[in-house]
Symmetry: C2
Subunit: 354 residues, 2 copies
């Protein structure tokens, strides 16, 4: 495979020196870009876009044409795995994702298919291969999956949730059923991410969007132990290159030490934690990704640059920082503000890498 022309992102994750702090944006391919909306319209529904390797490649590359980003991320969805396991994913307009056959019992768990990454999920691997080819080594490609706990919330609630009533009922009254599900999901995610690595992704990230709704003990028990299992099961080197692994638990700022204990390479931070304090706590062990409030992209160019400067200063000198938003970019952000953000990171960070 082609050598990377820009490997800042990979180097930062491995805590190696860089010339500038690398930057990318969670959900950088998406609805805030008019060119994305055009392709999405052409594809039809959201999953048809995910299933079409050429169109998924196109939307993956769109933000790279506009902004000086240091990484591309596979255009896909965290719910591809539960869908492939047989739950029947569908999207209702304005309602978010839904599952036709949510998990209710141990039998439902036993009946779940272990998806073949080059079978039911081959469309994802095809997208990875197409994107890698089209990227021509410009920047690394990030692969990803939802964490087992986060996937399980959708699988048990049947869709998005506010109070997570059903999964918590199961967690507290029939924990063995939930553990069986989480265990099966962990194995599926290991297969899925290892296949993405074989297909060409150069780094992987686990999104634990809903781990933060748990108590510290329950987070350990229902979310983190399964992410640790995945970290241990991944190909950490492929074709002689390190494949860095990033874990991101939204609202997980209180648990950084335990997250670092999994052996991951980097931790994604939301904006509720001060970068300096995160670095003091775990910066000797892992790289840190983050952490500007995505809503800051509604502000003026000057205010955006000020916020970037504050976060860079908070991290301070030395390697181990990948700049990002603390969560996905909002769909109504002006694209020109995203450009201000990306450029500010590069312009203002060189002084920290002398």
């Amino acid at each position: 495979m082609t050598e990377l022309k820009n490997d800042r992102y990979i180097r930062a994750l491995l805590k190696q020196p860089v010339d500038k702090t690398p930057v990318w944006m969670m959900r950088q391919a998406g609805r805030y870009l008019p060119e994305y909306k055009a392709v999405r319209k052409q594809a039809g529904d959201f999953m048809s876009l995910c299933r079409n390797a050429d169109l998924a490649c196109e939307v993956t590359l769109q933000p790279l044409r506009r902004f000086d980003l240091d990484a591309a991320i596979l255009f896909s969805d965290i719910l591809t795995v539960p869908d492939a396991m047989g739950l029947g994913l569908y999207f209702e307009e304005g309602e978010g994702p839904k599952f036709a056959r949510p998990i209710r019992s141990k039998r439902d768990v036993d009946n779940l298919i272990m998806p073949d990454p080059e079978g039911e999920l081959q469309y994802v691997m095809n997208a990875v291969r197409t994107i890698r080819r089209e990227l021509k080594g410009e920047v690394p490609l990030i692969g990803f999956s939802g964490s087992p706990w986060t996937l399980a919330t959708y699988m048990i609630e049947g869709g998005s949730s506010k109070a997570f009533t059903k999964i918590k009922k199961m967690a507290f009254s029939e924990p063995q059923i939930l553990h069986a599900l989480l265990d099966k999901l962990s194995d599926s995610v290991i297969d899925y991410l290892n296949a993405q690595i074989s297909a060409g992704v150069q780094s992987v990230m686990l999104f634990d969007t809903w781990g933060g709704v748990l108590s510290p003990r329950d987070y350990q028990d229902f979310s983190l132990q399964y992410m640790a299992k995945i970290v241990a099961g991944l190909k950490r080197t492929y074709e002689g290159k390190k494949i860095p692994v990033t874990l991101f638990t939204k609202n997980g700022g209180q648990w950084l030490e335990s997250i670092a204990d999994t052996g991951c390479d980097a931790i994604g931070l939301d904006w509720t934690i001060d970068m300096a304090s995160a670095k003091a706590r775990v910066g000797s062990r892992v790289a840190l990704q983050g952490n500007m409030d995505p809503s800051m992209l509604y502000a003026s160019p000057q205010r955006i640059s000020e916020e970037v400067a504050t976060i860079l200063q908070s991290f301070g000198q030395g390697p181990g920082h990948v700049f990002n938003l603390g969560h996905g970019i909002h769909l109504d952000v002006p694209p020109e503000n995203a450009k201000v953000f990306v450029d500010a990171v590069h312009e203002l960070s060189a002084q920290y890498h002398l």
Copy 2:
């Protein structure tokens, strides 16, 4: 006024010795109780219930008849203050609260009425007076308000929100308008809570439900500094009795030290923080309230008792703990499970107060 027959709750907030850990539940008067639903039906809509002193008193007392609670909390809503300021609160079935005239500009802020607690808000004070009379000194009565930031989210978004887009746009692009609003709200809340104290509440609590959606700097700037102003403006003693103040920021576990710096008596904790670690960080300065996951009330009696035991052990020996859920009780919890919870706190806590 009558002396309190059970002052465990007040003593615990002031870190004085008690025989057992006091316990109450956020939203203990509410929809999980069939007798509440009956009164609510009689009253008509939610605000009519809040405005009727006798019915508000009745629903305040209902949970005390079922459970051995150590405090009553005024039945009301955090949005009474913005409503009295002129925003036109209404509730759409299944949609949560809405404001007819949300805040859009500096002029909207300037036009806000400073409500008279014995004028527009007299119905709240009447409810307090009625409840105090009917409580006959059995347990203390808690008064409350929303925090300025939390009230402002509803006033600017026009109702509930997920991403807080409008208020964050204002915070990052026109912060002076937001600060003018927060300042006005702080003054209104001081008047409101001091009037509740004069009317008879024996402790007050500020609910900062949405402070946790901010970065540490923005939390300080837009939420905590205004809560500190309120703490400084409250009557901390009334008729010779201390009036303890509790601050509760949902998802505020990372900021306990700064919250304690406000000079409050106690901090409310959600369930994402370990009680032992909270006590180690700020337990020498403030009492702690919390912090069982409200979803644990879906579990078996045995599992509920185990969780209570774990949290009691985590706090350990000595005074300064008020047991509670980490957020409001869910509306579909079986009332008998709430009884198991309350009784478990009393039965299992005596050993920590020898």
